[in-house]
Each structure stands twice: as C-alpha cells, then as structure tokens.
C-alpha cells in the first residue's frame, strides 16, 4: 500500500491533538485543530480580548475590526459578501434559523423537498416547521450507489415547493451532490435552495455564486476551527427580508417599551455578545486550509478514501456503502459484526472511527443496517492510517471468525 501522496501528508505535525500512533479517522464528526487555530484562540482570549461593537476604547475597536475581518474572511472563502454572513453556533443552528424565520412565511400546502441521505439537522427543523405551519416535507430518493438521485429529485419539484434542502457532501457516504443542477431546477419552479455544507467546506472549494444556491450553512469545528461557531450564508435580498430570530442586545436599532426596531442583517440575527474568539479561530482555520489549498486537501483525501475502499474490499465479509467516487468518507459494515464491536476493537488498535447511525437514521433504514462503521479522512491522515484501519478490520474478522 504505497500509493504516492501529495505533500499534504506532512501537515500532521501541525496538529498537537494527534498523538503518536493514533490513527484519527473521525474527522467528519470533528476535525483536530492545527496549532495556528489554537494560537489564534489563545491570542483572542489573551492579549487581544475585549468585547466587540460597543466598547469606547482602543482594545474593543481592534477586536471589532478582527471580528469583522473574520466575517470578511468567511465571505471570501465562500464567494459571498460579508453582510450576507451570519455567525451561528453551527450548521444545525443555521438551518433552524432559516426554518424559524424565512420558514414562518410558508403556508399550509407549501412543500419542502429534502433527500433521503440528510443528517437529522436537515430533517428535524423542517418537521418542526411542518408541525407549526402545515407544510409538507417530501423526500427525494438515492441512486443505487447512494448518491442523491438528482433526476428523481428534480421530478419531485412542484409549484408548491418553496425550498429544496440538501447536503453538499453526505456525512455518511461522502457522495457529492450536483448543487448547480439542483439550484437551476429549484429556481425554475420558484423554490429556493438551502445547502448543508458541513462536509463540503473542509474539502471542496465552495463558491455560492457558482453553485447558485440561496442558503449555505457549515460548522467551524469540522473545518479545523473551534466548536460553537458556524456560518449561515443567505443571499442578501433574502436575508434582508427575513424577520429577526432571537431578540436581545446587538440585534436592535432602537428599543422602547412601545416597540423596537431592528438592525440590518447580519447583526439582526446575532443577538447577544457573539462568539468573538470562535469567529477569529474560524478565520484562522480558513487561512490554514487556504494555505494548503482546498484542491490539494480534496485530492489527498480522495486518494486515502480510494485506498481504504480498495483494502476493505479485499476483506470478504466487508460491505461498502456509497459511490466509488466520493469525498474523504467511507462507510462500511462487516457481516455479522455490529459496528460498535468494530469500533471497539479498532480503538484497541489505536484507530478512531465512528460507529453508529451518524445522525442519519432514515438513511440507515435505506441501507438496511442499524448502523455503519465510518472512516473519514482529513489533511493530517496518510497511507499508514489506512493501513492501520485495514489491519484493525482484519483483526476484528479474526476475533469474530
């Protein structure tokens, strides 16, 4: 197993969380943090710390500039305008924000179309909205190799479809959706497109203008950044018409007991003191991945995913899920062995994978398993991690043989 790898594999040394002899293959759950991000956080809470937007002293002004520079960095990262970028806790909060604000204008009989591989975060907020407003939620099927069946999805669009909400990259299967194609079809019936970019932002170069979507959400911690910070991007003309979400400080213009007026977007959606250092840490993470290049990271991970699929396929009892061509995520099962047992034995071998339903219970039902084992790759992994994964799975088959 000595396929050539691009120089990205040398980045492991930048991640203090990666102990020697630990094959961390759970980056789709959360990525380890590079020293640059840890340093930015330490500086943010250390010598740079102050509040933003309100202080009448130099430190606060400087911090405000850094916080807004972080917003500009995020905007540049996804090809957007800074005033279209709302800082949220994570993608989950971003989707809930859209469901509770933009979604409040929907009428009974309106429809939202999602896909069968969605994360619970892109299912449950729409079900809650359905329960509040009487809309319908439709579910587009998958292809035989577990990609969103775009043709079938497009055929399910109706004039009552107001929103399509799908994952850019599946967190279970690594399959990649053709967002531009879905955007065109959605817009043709007057629907908007929301994209869950959690697994795309860390590995694909995202340009919301080229994708043609209307909302894009992602989480910082999967992108080598801090937990508790994420991004909701919405096209300006949509964001500006959305009503406020949470009320409080920072989101207002004037407050009297008779009523209040609200700040323009994005501040209208950022009530309370924001996660200042989180935003700064996220910007440092973006600088980090851009320094390596998203294209190089994606190519590196695809190579590792292909190696993993090749090695796993040679083990007779392994069942592989997802398309051959997938981003750096590989889901598999072993005949007669629960994924929890696979994960337990792999942990013994110093290999960390995810075993479970990956917050995608409907997808597990479609795959016909209660859970899968999932190995996910990141910039710091290399072929030796794949080798340890394969050796560990062989060990599982020996123990259970």
């Amino acid at each position: 197993m000595t396929a050539p790898l691009n120089p990205a594999h040398s980045h492991r040394a930048n991640f203090p969380g990666l102990a020697d002899n630990w094959a961390y293959l759970d980056s789709a759950a959360t990525a380890q943090k590079p020293q640059a991000v840890i340093d930015a956080i330490a500086k943010g809470y250390g010598p740079d710390y102050a509040t933003v937007h309100r202080g009448v002293y130099a430190r606060s002004a400087t911090m405000t500039e850094r916080f807004e520079a972080a917003r500009a960095t995020v905007a540049r990262f996804i090809g957007a305008r800074p005033d279209e970028v709302v800082f949220v806790r994570g993608a989950t909060e971003g989707i809930n924000l859209v469901a509770q604000t933009w979604g409040s204008s929907l009428k009974p009989g309106d429809r939202i179309l999602i896909s069968a591989l969605e994360h619970h975060s892109n299912i449950v907020p729409w079900q809650l909205l359905r329960d509040r407003t009487g809309i319908e939620v439709d579910v587009a099927p998958l292809t035989a190799d577990h990609r969103i069946d775009e043709a079938a999805l497009i055929a399910m669009l109706t004039p009552r479809t107001k929103l399509v909400a799908i994952a850019h990259v599946s967190n279970v299967l690594g399959s990649i959706a053709d967002i531009a194609k879905v955007a065109d079809a959605a817009h043709a019936v007057g629907a908007l497109l929301l994209v869950d970019g959690c697994q795309a932002a860390p590995r694909l170069s995202v340009d919301v203008a080229a994708l043609g979507c209307d909302f894009y959400v992602f989480s910082g911690h999967k992108l080598y950044g801090p937990t508790g910070i994420g991004v909701l991007w919405a096209r300006a003309e949509i964001l500006n018409t959305m009503p406020p979400w949470q009320g409080g400080g920072a989101m207002i213009e004037t407050v009297t007991f008779a009523g209040s007026t609200y700040a323009p977007a994005p501040q209208r959606f950022e009530a309370g003191t924001p996660h200042i250092v989180g935003a700064i840490g996220l910007a440092a993470a973006i600088d980090y991945v851009e320094g390596i290049g998203l294209g190089a990271i994606d190519a590196h991970e695809r190579q590792l995913a292909a190696l993993a699929r090749e090695g796993l396929r040679r083990i007779n009892s392994v069942r592989l899920f997802g398309p051959e061509e997938s981003a750096g995520i590989v889901s598999f099962a072993l005949d007669g062995v629960h994924p929890h047992d696979i994960g337990t034995i792999l942990d013994e071998s110093g290999v960390a994978i995810r075993a479970g339903h990956h917050c995608c219970q409907p997808l597990m039902g479609l795959l016909g398993v209660p859970a899968t084992a999932r190995a996910s790759f990141a910039v710091y992994n290399d072929a030796s991690d794949v080798e340890r994964l394969i050796d560990g799975v062989k060990r599982v088959t020996r123990i259970f043989g």
Binding site: P339, T344, G356, I399
Partner: protein, 143 residues
C-alpha cells in the same frame, strides 16, 4: 480457544471468579475478547417483547436492554445488547447481580471488579456508552 458458556449455567459471583481466572490465564487481549463474546452468546435469550423503549438503556452506537423483576428481596434481570462485546460485558455484570438481594448489590463494587479485569483501560468506549448506564440503572433499582 477458550469456550466458556458453562460459566453462565449458574449466574453467581463464583463464576465471575472463573472469568477472572480465565482472563489471568490468557495473555492476549484478542482471546479475552473471545471469552467476552462467548459469554455474551451464552446469555439466556431476552424475549423480543421485552425490548422496548422502556427497557432500553441509553447509548449511542450500541443498544442495551435491561428488564428487571423482583422476587421478594432478590432481583432478576433479563438483558441483551445488539453489539457482541457489549453483550459479553452485560453478561459479566449479570454474573455479579443475578438473583442477588438488592441490599448486596453495589454499583461501585461492580465497576471496580470490571476495572480489575482491565476492562476500563481496554474497552474505553464503554466508559461512556450503554454499559455504564446499565450499571447505574442496576444501582438505582437496588437502592
């Protein structure tokens, strides 16, 4: 390769000592896992009808079910897991509590005896998964 279903013919702490001896005699963790898996396989089957939301012990990747009944002071448990190693751990715990008087059941002692087998070090994920919740639930029932 050890085969230990006989250890479960009588669910008593004596048999837990047999497992301890077996673990001691083995020098390879893979063989110890096989002992655990065999223990789990030898567990009396739990009727499917008893596997309900009410008997499910919360865990993420694997599921554990525990159905307690009481005969006077004595507790009896039907239990199962869908993961083989967890099921073996469930069987190990049952060796210590099955048909015992509630007053004799001490969750801290159960944890200590599992730890002494090296299980917390070697099966670290079970510190936070269903098994820990199962021991806690047994403790609540016995209290």
């Amino acid at each position: 390769m050890p085969r230990v279903p006989h250890l479960l013919r009588a669910m008593t702490p004596d048999n837990f000592e047999d497992v301890e001896a077996e673990f001691e005699a083995l020098d390879d963790w893979d063989d110890r896992y096989r002992v655990l898996i065999d223990l789990g396989r030898a567990l009396p089957p739990m009727p499917e009808a008893l596997k309900t939301d009410a008997t499910k012990v919360r865990g993420c990747a694997s599921q554990v079910w525990l159905y307690p009944t009481r005969d006077g002071e004595r507790l009896h448990f039907a239990a199962d897991s869908d993961a083989a190693i967890v099921k073996g751990l469930v069987a190990l715990v049952l060796l210590l509590v099955q048909e015992r008087a509630a007053a004799d059941i001490d969750p801290a002692a159960i944890r200590a005896r599992l730890d002494a087998l090296g299980l917390s070090k070697h099966l670290s994920s079970n510190r936070t998964q269903g098994l820990a919740s199962m021991i806690a639930r047994i403790g609540e029932l016995a209290a």
